[in-house]
Subunit: 158 residues, 2 copies
Amino acid sequence: MSQSVNRQPGRYFEDYPVGAVFAGGPVAVSEEEILAFARRYDPQPMHVDKAAAEAGQFGGLIASGWHTGALMMQLLTRYFVPSPGNLASPGLDELRWLLPVRPGDRLSLRATVLTARRSRSKPDQGIVTSLVEVLNQKDEVVMTLKPISLMRCREPSP
Amino acid sequence: MSQSVNRQPGRYFEDYPVGAVFAGGPVAVSEEEILAFARRYDPQPMHVDKAAAEAGQFGGLIASGWHTGALMMQLLTRYFVPSPGNLASPGLDELRWLLPVRPGDRLSLRATVLTARRSRSKPDQGIVTSLVEVLNQKDEVVMTLKPISLMRCREPSP
């Protein structure tokens, strides 16, 4: 079962069956934003110093991995997170930064539901895990992670 | 073996033995920054809408989990990441958001080395995994994760 949809109002736990795919984008990554984010949160030479970055292992400025994660979250709120069904995220597993993200890149999201189960203790809640892939404009996967999402159910368990 | 140190210049893979502890902080979390970060990256009501957040499950505005992660990275660059020995991070495992982060909180870092091994293929590189805990001003652990760090060795393997 596969479906590729944008965010719709009125989504709940029941709308995230195993195998469902949620996709969307892109969001553009500018040099200005890479520098501003990294100056505050990750001031390493490869993220904040153009000359050092060009001489370094990546051959140019690259985005902080946490900046890529924040942009992924922006896409997740647009194309995956249910509304009004979202409750919270307890965390995520297996985050991998696979390729550098550079100024001018355009990132898109593909989220595939891996598991979906109702809470044993709370009949109005469900837990969804998914594989999230972040792709650049060449369709290369630059980042993957497996977030855990706590969602409201449309219909509580009996 | 345990040591609690701030970031020193000249650190390499060899300075991260199993059990070593790196700690530091705090960084303050302002309402203004919570709102600015979330408006750009995570515009959900609990992060951007004070009135909705006060009426919601957390009883007030809370920071985006990715904002807490970005602040953690700021502390990591100050107190953990080796210089000049840092190469890159391939990713992280088991990130958990345990407690909300609120305006006025002050966050600190404690990173404990879990594993440290030399690369089999690259004699001048090593791989360190650690348990990172982010604590608030009440010494409550608000977030944990296990980052993977690729570092240069001071002395290459023979």
